[in-house]
Every structure is written in C-alpha cells, then in structure tokens.
C-alpha cells in the first residue's frame, strides 16, 4: 500500500474513531466508502486551491510584466487589482461561445478538457508535505510524466479541430515540442532517481535534507547541470517563453487556441498556469529539497506539516517567479533553434549527466560533494595536527 493522505490521517485517534463509529452505526465495514469520501474531499480541495493559484498566476504574470516594463498593471478590481482573475473568469463565462462553422465539433469540445484533465491528474502526486499529499505512488515520477503528456494531445487536437491554419501550425509545433523535450526532462529526472534509489516522490524528497547542502542540486556537478537541463526542458514542455512557439502571437495570431472563446479558452489558459505550478513543484521536490524543513522543525505534528508545506510552496513560487521573469526577458527562439537546442545540446548533456550520476553513486557510494569536502577537511585537520 502506498502512503496516501488517508493513511496519514488514520494515524490520528479522531479519524480512526470516526471510522469505527460509522462502521458500528451502519453495521457494516465503512472503511472503503470513507476512504473514498476522504480522497474525494482532499482532491476537491487540492483542485480548487490549484485553480485559484492558476488564476493568481495570470494576475502575477500581468503584474510582474507590468513592473518589468515600467507600467502599473491591473489595479482596479480589489486591493492592488488582486481580484482581476475573478473578473476575467466572469467575463469568460458571459462571453458568447463561438464554434467555427467548419470545425470538428466533437474534438473542439474534447481538446480543452483533455488539457485540463492531464494537468489536474498530475496534482495527485505533487508532494505538498509528507502527510498532505494525495498519494505517494511508488512510480510517482513516471506517472507525472505520463499524465502530463495528455496536455500535448489536448493542444494538438485543439489546433487540429479548429480548422484554421494558424491553429494547425501552433498545434503541430506544440505536440512536436512537447514530445521532443520530454526526453531531456526524463533523463535528468532519472539522474536524481539513481541517486535516491526510488521513483516515488516521498522517497526522492526524504533522500534530501532541509539545508541546501543536502539538496540534490548541490549533490554533485552532474545534478547541478541536470537541474538547469530539467528547468529548460520543462519551460519548453509547458510552452512558456522563450519556447512559446505554439502560441507565437507575432506569427500565429495566438497559435492553437486562436479559435477558442469563452470558457474553453479559459480552460487552456488555466491548464497552462497550473501546469507551470506542477512542473515548478516537481523541480523543487526533485532538486531543491521539496518539503524538507531545516532541522526537521515541527516533526510529525500538524505544525510540522504546515512548515513543510510552507517550505515546498516557497521554493515552488520562487521558481514560478523565475519562469515569469524569463518570459518577459528573453526573445522567442526559431523553430530550427528549438530543435537544435533539444537534440544537439540538452539530450546529450542529460545522457552524460545520467551516466555521470550512476558512476558517482558507484564509485563514491552516493556521498554528496559537500560530505566529501567535509570529510577531507576533517581528515586534513587531524593529520595536519602534528606540524
């Protein structure tokens, strides 16, 4: 059995009592239905909070870009314009829902839903804290890669079904970009998996420590490079600048979602912003220590879980800021440059990193660079004592 939010909650007396109470009240074993109920509520909360974070992501994007361009940005709705995304949502719902006359209607309806489904399915393994993760699947990393590839299909079908040349080009670019960049991303994930010796997120995070010295990014030179390969790769996979070719507004109007209006367009936008959160969360869990708190403050208690969540969210939002920052700083790549970056640079580097990490684990017993330096310092102090 995997560690899930239910198995965490069952450690508490109250929850176990509740299970017993319901079982005796109805005279049957209620653990199955209660497990389902708890999962349902937890998933409901996570999805809704993530939808709000995705909405706030659009606000953050506009506000940060405004800062970088010496503008003010949205400031009318709510304090500092922070409710702008709600106003946008209401506007999206009220808009007329236009389907192009020659569009493939069935796929036109399916495409945005597929995008959103893929992103929300990947939330199941995002480790917010040790207890409050929906499930620590023991193949969590592979699962994350698998369900997030649904987004690529959604983007491609969105481009195809709207029966417009701009959309088609954007969809083709999106799909080819996503399946190409999956390779360096997967390889650099595997380098970390080799170090931790497991595919589940709790195993990967627990192999790190709260202090930066124990993070995988500073574990050895290969993972240090691997983090940047991973980050560039996920930027391309989420179609963010400088890899936003699928929606390149200067050449393709708006790419794959040119023909989408109203809520369907909002689904695409929401999927993009939540996916950025998901990949930033994965990056912080894999390379930056995830939910680990220095000195394990709080321990296993509720306070500990809150601190862990704070640690995870701080790292994730810092990466989120970097993603937005990059978008408003770098110009867009050309298509041929995009493929050259992936196949001629990132993939060989990621392969080299994977082999390097494997050799490091084999020859140095998986000790981190910091540990080796400290060992050397200690031995040199001891041996140098005679001078």
């Amino acid at each position: 059995m995997n560690n899930t939010i239910v198995s965490y909650l069952l450690d508490f007396e109250i929850v176990r009592n509740m299970f017993d109470f319901v079982s005796t009240k109805f005279g049957l074993n209620a653990s199955g239905i209660l497990t389902f109920f708890i999962f349902f509520i937890a998933a409901f909360i996570v999805v809704n909070v993530m939808a709000v974070i995705g909405g706030l992501g659009t606000y953050a994007e506009r506000k940060i870009s405004a800062d970088m361009q010496m503008r003010i940005g949205p400031n009318r709705v709510g304090p500092f314009g922070i409710l702008q995304f709600l106003a946008d949502g209401v506007k999206m719902i009220m808009k007329e829902d236009i389907v192009p006359a020659k569009a493939d209607r069935a796929l036109f309806f399916v495409a945005p839903t597929l995008c959103l489904m893929g992103v929300f399915a990947s939330l199941a393994v995002i480790p917010f804290s040790k207890g409050l993760t929906l499930t620590h699947l023991n193949v969590g990393v592979v699962y994350l890669l698998g369900v997030s590839s649904l987004v690529g299909i959604g983007i491609f079908l969105g481009g195809y079904s709207s029966n417009s040349k701009w959309s088609m080009l954007g969809g083709m670019r999106g799909a080819s970009q996503i399946i190409s960049y999956e390779i360096p991303v997967t390889l650099s994930m595997l380098a970390v998996v080799v170090l931790a010796g497991g595919l589940s997120f709790d195993k990967l995070v627990d192999a790190q420590t709260g202090w930066p010295t124990g993070w995988f990014i500073f574990h050895n030179p290969f993972t240090f490079i691997g983090f940047f390969v991973f980050f560039v790769g996920v930027l391309a996979e989420t179609n963010r600048a400088p890899f936003d070719l699928p929606e390149a507004e200067s050449e393709l109007v708006s790419g794959y979602h040119t023909e989408f209006t109203g809520m369907r367009f909002a689904f695409f936008a929401l999927a993009e912003y939540v996916e950025v959160f998901v990949v930033c969360g994965a990056a912080s869990a894999l390379f930056l220590g995830g939910y680990k708190v220095p000195m394990d403050l709080g321990g296993e208690s509720i306070l500990g879980q809150i601190l862990q969540m704070g640690s995870f969210l701080t790292k994730t939002f810092l990466l989120y800021y970097v993603v937005i920052w990059i978008r408003w700083t770098l110009p867009r790549l050309r298509v041929d440059q995009l493929m050259v970056v992936c196949w001629k640079y990132l993939t060989p580097i990621a392969l080299f990193n994977l082999v390097g990490c494997a050799l490091w684990v084999y020859f140095l017993n998986g000790k981190s660079f910091y540990e080796l330096v400290m060992n050397m310092a200690v031995t040199s102090i001891h041996s140098g004592g005679g001078h």
Partner: protein, 178 residues
C-alpha cells in the same frame, strides 16, 4: 470494492474505446477513441497491481504512440495519384518483396526465441516456486530485465535503434538530386 469499481470503469473505458475505434469513420476520432482505450488498459494494469507497467503504458502509449499516430495521419494521405507508378502498381508494395521477407523472417526468429524464453520461464515459475515478494514491481522488473531476460531487452533496443536509423534515412533529403 475500490478495486472492483476501478476494474469496472477501466473495462468500460477499454471496451467503449475499442468499439469506437472500429465504429467511427473519421480517422482522427478513431485516434481519440484509441486514446480512451489505452487509458482504460492502464487502469486494468493498476487493478492487477502492475503499477510500473501502467505508468509506462501512460508514458509510452498515451504520450508517445497516439501523438505519433496523429502526426502520421497529418503527414500522409492527400493526393492518391502519388501512390502509384505509371503502370498502375503501388510504389511501396503493402505485401513486401524478397528483401523485406528475408529481414522479416530473421527478426521473427529472434523475437520468437526471446519471447519464448520469457513465456517458458513464466510457465516454469508457476509450477515450481512462488514469485519473489517485492513491495513494488519496479525493482523486480529491473532485476529480471537485466538478468533472465537480457536477450529480449537487448533485442528490443536493437529494433528501436533500427527504427531510429531507418527514420533518419527516410527523412534525409536526397543528396544526388539537386
């Protein structure tokens, strides 16, 4: 009960998707139905306790194969006149020729041997001893792939390499023609 529900949903998804693939005329819709069917199969693997296989099913089939199929649909088709030469024969014959038969039979032999090795082992395993008990199937798969079934592992990697080189050769622009 949980698992039974999952089994029911996965089975329905698999069957409905499979029926949809053969029932619809639009090839793009068939691809989307195939996607549903493949996700259903991943769910079936979960109910069997094969967690790693189901995750790989998602990565390879949902993420890779379906997108490649859609790409193939986009890049082929079109003008039918291109497929035939001036005598009215197909340029690339669907039934193959001597060379392809030779290569095909060689590949068939290698595959029969390697698959047979796996299947005989499984039959043997059931009769003689209990399968080793692992918490997760990942370690088990890794051990078996690099020890007992290393021939199948290597054969499949050679096939994939061949496919990669073949694709590069087909896609390469003709050097002789200017």
């Amino acid at each position: 009960m949980f698992v039974k529900f999952l089994f029911l949903i996965s089975t329905l998804l698999t069957l409905a998707g499979a029926i949809g693939v053969v029932a619809v005329k639009n090839i793009m819709h068939a691809c989307v139905f195939l996607l549903a069917s493949l996700i259903g199969v991943a769910g079936l693997y979960v109910t069997l306790g094969a967690d790693f296989v189901s995750a790989v099913q998602l990565v390879v089939y949902v993420g890779g194969v379906v997108i490649l199929m859609i790409f193939a649909v986009m890049l082929t088709g079109g003008d039918k006149a291109d497929f035939f030469n001036k005598f009215g024969f197909e340029k690339v014959s669907a039934m193959g020729n001597k060379k392809t038969y030779l290569v095909g039979s060689a590949v068939l032999i290698v595959f029969t041997l390697s698959v047979g090795k796996i299947i005989f082992n499984i039959i043997d395993l059931k009769s003689s001893k209990d399968p080793q008990s692992y918490v997760s199937t990942v370690e088990q798969l890794g051990h078996l792939l690099l020890t007992d079934h290393v021939l199948a592992f290597e054969a499949s990697s050679v096939v994939l390499l061949g496919a990669l080189i073949g694709a590069a050769i087909i896609a390469r622009p003709n050097r002789g023609v200017k």
